[in-house]
């Protein structure tokens, strides 16, 4: 089954600020919601047509798909102690989610990240811009991850449905609601991919800013462009199979209505023949 809104990243248990960080360092838990509540502070409104809001939530929130961002204002992003603290903090999340820890250095800023956790070391005045750019990029990446996982789970089911793309029969009719549902889900995935497309394939910004470069580097490092392309190919296969299933089912249902009438006539004729034959038998019997 294709599942929607699956858990993309679990919230690591340890969300305490590491010791020894400079003043102004903070951890912010961010959730992505489709509707903003009055009590939630909106951190970022994702660009159209995503229609999502990054909102600040408490660490113990039950929200799914959360991101924890550790921001460390520093003029020396090469500071070994700060780097170690940030790296350890992200590594704890990576260990919990069994995902790799990645890092990048760019124009006086240092970023460590893994699924659901990111640590940024940058100058105070640049920190916010980098953080917002990474929040946005994180959403795109996690959305891709979710689609990959959803499609991956759906392959065996799609292969099981494959014969119905060629021929449909009476027994398969009871699967029709399921096929309809799956086709809708494939179209929804297609829509999600289409909405991601402009942001994943967007050309580099000119003139560049630190935030735009961090986001572009993040996209490259997480191979979003290629993954988006592969997902498009995979969705094509799903779409083709379920579209054919729908076509076969529709044709079958239409012809079945006609056949049903024919069968009713046949049954009535058989009944009449039975009565006639039975009458003949009784005339010969007792």
């Amino acid at each position: 089954m294709i599942a929607k809104d699956t858990l993309r990243a679990t919230l690591p248990a340890d969300v305490r600020l590491p010791a020894g960080l400079p003043n102004g360092s903070a951890i912010q838990c961010i959730a992505f919601v489709s509707e903003k509540n009055s009590g939630q502070a909106v951190v970022l409104e994702l660009p159209m047509p995503i229609l999502r809001y990054a909102v600040s939530v408490k660490p113990d929130s039950n929200e799914q798909n959360t991101l924890q961002a550790l921001t460390i204002p520093t003029n020396n992003h090469q500071d070994a102690d700060l780097q170690l603290a940030a790296r350890d903090w992200v590594a704890a999340g990576a260990l919990e989610n069994k995902s790799p820890l990645e890092m990048m250095t760019l124009q006086g800023s240092q970023v460590f990240w893994t699924v659901g956790r990111v640590a940024i070391l940058a100058q105070g005045d640049r920190l916010e811009a980098v953080r917002l750019a990474l929040i946005e990029a994180f959403w795109f990446e996690s959305e891709l991850c979710d689609i990959e996982r959803t499609l991956g789970d759906a392959w065996p089911q799609m292969e099981a449905d494959l014969p119905l793309a060629f021929a449909f029969n009476e027994r398969a009719l009871r699967k029709q609601p399921q096929l309809k549902k799956r086709f809708q889900q494939v179209l929804l995935i297609r829509a999600r991919l289409a909405r991601l497309g402009p942001h994943v394939h967007a050309p580099h910004l000119h003139p560049p800013t630190l935030a735009s470069q961090v986001a572009e580097r993040f996209r490259e490092r997480s191979r979003m462009l290629h993954r988006h392309g592969f997902l498009e190919d995979q969705v094509d296969v799903f779409e083709k199979v379920y579209d054919s299933c729908g076509q076969r089912a529709s044709d079958f249902v239409q012809s079945r209505t006609g056949h049903m009438l024919e069968w009713i006539i046949i049954i009535l004729l058989l009944t009449q023949s039975l009565l006639w034959g039975f009458g003949l038998l009784t005339s010969m019997g007792k």
Partner: protein
């Protein structure tokens, strides 16, 4: 797919049949539960057939192979039915059309019906109920029954008339039970498939309660027909309705017993199968499973156990074989004997184990699958 509710209902059917047959054949007494076991048995045969076919489809068995197996199974049961008639009721009872010959024929027909759109089997079932009074009237049903027992001439027309309308379990209207089982199975499987999409419990519950409602509606209709029968025009009440009667099976009887079977299964599926783990821990589930798996064997065996001694004893006494039939002992002895038979049967079958393939069921699988 094995449902505990089916095992329990089949156990109830076989226990009812054993009690009824012991009381009837040994004492000539009709117990109040007479006529409730066979309808349940026939209904469950259709339901089990549908689930069996579904199991084969899930295992990827081809349609052609399923048809072949179905036909082989149908012919096997039909053949065992004839062997049973000859061995138990002696050669003069070969064509009395007992429940096994009926189930064998029904399996052959269900193999064709299962591939048709669901409304068509329902139509066939409805027609088989509605035309049976007409066929019985055309054949002059009472002429085939002497002292409440089916007694046809051994001529081809009489044999065929017996098979279609006047035997113990003729195709019409008994086919309706098997078709009802098939339709129930289809509804159940469709609900199980669709329940994967949304809320599983809710979807299954809805279809179960629908079955309970349909069963209740059948029983209510039967009750209404029984009540208003005497006030209806004579032509209608005599030709179509015949009151509460198993031989011949009247519309009221068929509706009530069919309704009972559907009602009990719907209720059992809702209350028992949904809580399978709880049920499997109970001791009585093992009893039901054991009896259900060997129901075919028990059906044949219980006849041999209580009928053959009657024939042998009469022959030893220099009497006609059927001399002691229905008057061998009082019912207060016959019923405890039936219970003793069931207990012995259970002990024996428990030793064999519910998962071993012995008895007539085992032969059927060996020969047909």
């Amino acid at each position: 797919m094995r449902y505990s509710s089916i095992d329990i209902l089949r156990t109830i059917a076989i226990v009812v049949m054993v009690l009824v047959h012991f009381a009837e054949n040994l004492s000539g007494v009709h117990l109040p539960i007479t006529g409730l076991g066979a309808p349940l048995f026939a209904y469950l045969s259709g339901l089990s057939y549908c689930l069996w076919v579904n199991g084969l489809e899930l295992r990827g068995i081809s349609e052609e192979e399923i048809s072949k197996r179905s036909i082989r199974r149908g012919l096997f049961v039909f053949g065992v039915g004839f062997a049973f008639n000859i061995l138990v009721w002696l050669p003069e009872g070969t064509f009395n059309w007992d429940v096994l010959t009926f189930i064998g024929s029904a399996l052959l027909l269900l193999n064709g019906l299962r591939r048709l759109p669901l409304p068509i089997p329902i139509l066939v079932g409805a027609i088989s109920i509605l035309i049976s009074p007409l066929l019985q009237g055309m054949a002059d049903y009472p002429a085939y029954w002497v002292d409440d027992y089916f007694d046809p001439d051994l001529t081809l027309p009489d044999v065929l008339i017996g098979f279609l309308a006047t035997g113990y379990f003729p195709l019409f209207p008994w086919l309706a039970y098997s078709i009802a089982g098939l339709v129930t199975g289809e509804v159940l499987l469709a609900a199980a498939l669709n329940s994967n999409i949304e809320d599983k419990t809710h979807s299954n519950s809805a279809s179960n309660w629908r079955l309970v409602f349909v069963g209740g509606a059948f029983m209510t209709t039967s009750g209404v027909l029984l009540s208003i029968g005497p006030y209806m025009p004579t032509s209608l009440s005599q030709r179509l309705l015949g009151g509460w009667n198993m031989f011949p099976a009247t519309i009221e009887y068929v509706l009530a017993t069919l309704g009972m079977a559907v009602f009990l299964f719907g209720l059992g599926h809702q209350l028992i199968d949904q809580k399978l783990e709880m049920v499997q821990q109970k001791g009585w589930f093992d009893i039901a499973k054991t009896f259900s798996r060997y129901s075919f064997t028990i059906y044949v065996l219980h006849h041999l156990i209580h009928i053959w001694p009657l024939w042998i004893f009469a022959l030893a006494q220099g009497q006609e074989t059927t001399y002691y039939w229905g008057k061998a002992m009082p019912v207060i002895v016959a019923v405890p004997l039936a219970i003793l038979f069931l207990i012995c049967c259970y002990i024996l079958l428990r030793k064999i184990g519910p998962d071993r393939r012995l008895g007539i069921e085992g032969w059927m699988r060996w020969l047909c699958d």
